[in-house]
């Protein structure tokens, strides 16, 4: 299960979770895969501060740079 896919930035703190086992009403075990994600506090060049999340440091930094370029006025 992807979390916060399709968004520049996310506001979820999920660090190093593996998989979660849930027992349903029918007593079936269902493994829900939860991806490892980390979030970094980011101040964009037009002043807004938010959290940027991703699976790897490179992914987070790439998202930050892209979001800054797309959202902020010419910088």
């Amino acid at each position: 299960m992807k979390l916060l896919k399709n968004s520049f930035l996310g506001t979820v703190f999920l660090l190093a979770l593996g998989s979660v086992s849930i027992v349903t009403a029918n007593n079936e075990n269902k493994d829900l895969e939860v991806e490892k994600r980390a979030c970094v506090r980011t101040t964009f060049s037009f002043g807004v501060t938010a959290l940027t999340c991703g699976d790897t440091t490179e992914e987070i930094i790439a998202k930050i740079i892209e979001a800054d370029e797309e959202i902020c006025p010419i910088n």
Partner: protein, 270 residues
């Protein structure tokens, strides 16, 4: 036991080396093209420019924006030096790009792979390398000291005029173009919305390893048509994907910015 450990270490080293080889190819040539284009079809006089590298190997090639290439190397360095704390973008300068697309051609498997970023996600689609139908003309002239010859084709809803040189007998060109008896020195559509011109050509003496596609990357696999739709949806409503409050002024600015990006190079998305 000692022998087993040595065997395991050697197997792992071999696996690592093979993985490395599968992720890179050796470029023999580095070509730089400058694209002059009209991002807004309602204002074609408003031109933008961006430079691109075309790395050519024996069986593979990669086409990427120069600024994206530089930026990707910066990201790797920043990630290595990152200490896990706050990132402040107002203190950083990174090269700007309007082209997140990377076009990777694999002639062994007759495939083109294209990756693109939209709203923070990275998409990947594959298509077969289909031969262009070129009509080679007798017209000749000189561009950038190269003797070039004219050829015309149609691609993705646009008609193109290309000028190729047999002085460099490599059947390659910018973007997805290829299949002429020599390197494409210039190619533009008849309306001149997209015009690529060669600005440098280098034969690489030393081995230059180029990463083709990082298989570990979290790509969202898609098709060309779906990707176009996703991009269109994003351009129509970019604000919905920004999860923090923006001033009405910022919202207006961002909407206007994307509204002006309405003239993709591929009009026909089949």
């Amino acid at each position: 036991m000692k022998k087993l450990i040595i065997l395991l270490v050697l197997s792992f080293a071999n696996f690592q080396a093979e993985s490395q080889n599968n992720n890179t190819f050796t470029a023999n040539y580095e070509v730089t093209y400058r694209l002059e284009y009209s991002p807004d079809s309602t204002d074609i006089k408003d031109k933008s420019t961006e430079d691109f590298y075309l790395f050519i190997g024996d069986e593979k090639s990669k086409f990427i924006s120069v600024n994206k290439w530089v930026r990707d190397s910066m990201i790797v360095k920043m990630a290595k030096n990152f200490n896990g704390s706050h990132i402040n973008m107002s203190k950083r300068k990174t090269p700007k790009t309007k082209f997140y697309e990377i076009i990777f051609k694999d002639y062994e498997n007759n495939q083109i792979k294209v990756s693109d970023r939209i709203g923070g996600d990275v998409f990947l689609y594959s298509e077969n390398i289909s031969p262009y139908i070129w009509q080679v003309n007798k017209d000749k002239k000189v561009i950038n000291d190269f003797k070039v010859q004219k050829a015309v084709t149609e691609f993705a809803g646009r008609k193109y005029v290309a000028w190729f040189t047999e002085e460099i007998p490599i059947p390659q060109g910018p973007y997805k173009f290829e299949g002429l008896p020599g390197l494409i020195v210039q190619i533009s559509d008849l309306e001149n919305h997209y015009n690529f011109q060669l600005i440098s050509f280098m034969e690489l003496k030393g081995e230059k390893e180029i990463i083709n596609f990082d298989n570990n990357k979290n790509y969202i696999k898609t098709t060309k048509k779906q990707l176009h739709q996703t991009k269109q949806d994003f351009f129509d409503d970019p604000i919905s994907r920004i999860p923090f409050d923006l001033t009405p002024q910022d919202k207006r600015r961002i909407k206007e910015k994307y509204k002006k990006q309405n003239n993709p190079i591929e009009l026909d998305q089949k």
